[in-house]
Amino acid sequence: MKEATGLKEIIKPENLVYRRSEVLVDNTLSYCPGCGHGTTHRILAELIEELGLQSQTIGISPVGCSVLLYHYLDVDIQQAAHGRAPAVATGIKRLLPDKFVFTYQGDGDLAAIGTSETIHACNRGENIMIIFVNNGIYGMTGGQMAPTTIPGMKSSTSPLGRDVKTMGNPLMMTDIVATLPGTYYVTRQSVHTPANVRRTKKAMRKAIEYQKLNKGTCFIEIVSNCPSGWRMTPVESNKWMEENMFSYYPLGDLKTPAE
């Protein structure tokens, strides 16, 4: 492995502070440079490793940029039809209730074609974790408008910017599922700065641990960037996200378990 290293005398096993999780397969992620998918995969892998869940995890990948999740996470995975991951997860968790089951979905998958499956799985309170990566655009198919695209935002199917009058407002799926009694923990986070990564990891750890309680669905939205779809550099896209997306999608817990 070709490496760029810092001070060599410090590089000793006893000094190790951080290394890539072993739950990540030793390959290169196919995501665009700077894409939040990679960071989210990494956090999830670290938690699966730290919590010792690798042998009991079954994940479901969507249709979208993260369809190939099963190439990157070394756990049993089913690839689901577009939007149907919560239904697939329902089948799995009902039949194998002792396993840790999660879905990983983008905004087209969860909030467009999958709206019904998302709402009904949450309404039934399926004991699964739903990870919702929201970058307000359809990345895999080339940058079209999504239900979560914010007003005025340009995309390949809203070239003049999202026009609320003809295209509707952004669909606030996380807020909607938080109103359902079937959800147990609902939160919205981001992964673009170290502080936010730490907060996301804390939130996701809770979501994972809560599954053992069988108290309902844990739903975590990750507001993320799409440098390619937004036609920006990664650093620019994170700045744009901070300045524009967070006013529509404010970070924080929307629903926490009653103490």
């Binding site: 089913q78 689901a80 089948g91 799995i92 039949l95 499956e117």
Partner: protein, 357 residues
Amino acid sequence: MEKELRLMKGNEAIAEAAIRAGVDGYFGYPITPQSEILEYLMEANPYKTTGMVVLQAESEIAAINMVYGGAGCGKKVMTSSSSPGISLKQEGISYIAGAELPCLIVNVARGGPGLGTIQPAQADYFQSVKGGGHGDYHLIVLAPASVQEMADFVELGFDLAFKYRNPVLILSDGAIGQMMEKVYLKPQKPRATDSPDWATTGKGNRKERNIITSLDLDPDRQEDFNHKLQAKYAEIEKNEVRFEEFQCEDADYLFIAYGTSARVCQKSVQIAREHGLKAGLLRPITLFPFPSVRINELSAKVKGILSVEMSSGQMVEDVMLAVNGKVPVKHFGRMGGIVTTPDEVVEKLKTLFIGGE
């Protein structure tokens, strides 16, 4: 190993047979004429006795995807619907076939197209046998003609599904779903405790993770995979053809019919012979694989073949392919939910083949 004798509706027989066959999960949605399957299972509450999961999904689409999830875990899972709902499931069915998963789908067919009617029809033959969903795949299709077969085909369906890692469809119709007949039910079989080695059950002690997917972006690999599927279907065609013959040995004319139409034609054979016409009936039990070889053999000995199906003529195309021009093949069938009568069929046989052609 006593079998229990009961008087049951076709739909109920499927539900009871599913419980007794040790099915792990049923995911369904109400639609006439098959809602009794879900209702019976909810009433029976097998979760308490065998641990079988019964769930009313929010849509037929959700139900087939729940089946996908359960099937991916190596479990015996099934769903049921009627024609319009089966249309909704096609994407999920294609995914199940593409991921090589076992499962059972029941279509209690009704008249179409569109919302159609609630009375029986056999206009889903193309949908069931020729694809329905996108891509080069086949379902194994079983066509029951009695309440007994509704019950028996559940276990047979799962045996075939797991043997070939392929979805199996029971193509029934509203008449058989609703009629009541005697049925012998097998004793309760326990649900399986082990899982196939390809299933996603959590890595456990396995070195490699299991992935259930139908995606491969590499064209060479995807072509190889399609060849693998085709080889599987060739095996199925070689080994799993099932049919029943009724008075074909000396027949001059042959009826080919399945399901309710076969019941009608059985009477038509009797009526025809009373009128001096030597008719026989070949009833396909598997529609895929189709009994082409046997139909081809019989066509050498008859003067004409009438395909009888409650449709505009779907199965007749496969009959024609099997006969390969040896003798005239025609179709007769009522549509709109109307069930043909035995006399009607005999009249058609006469007018289409004997008089005034």
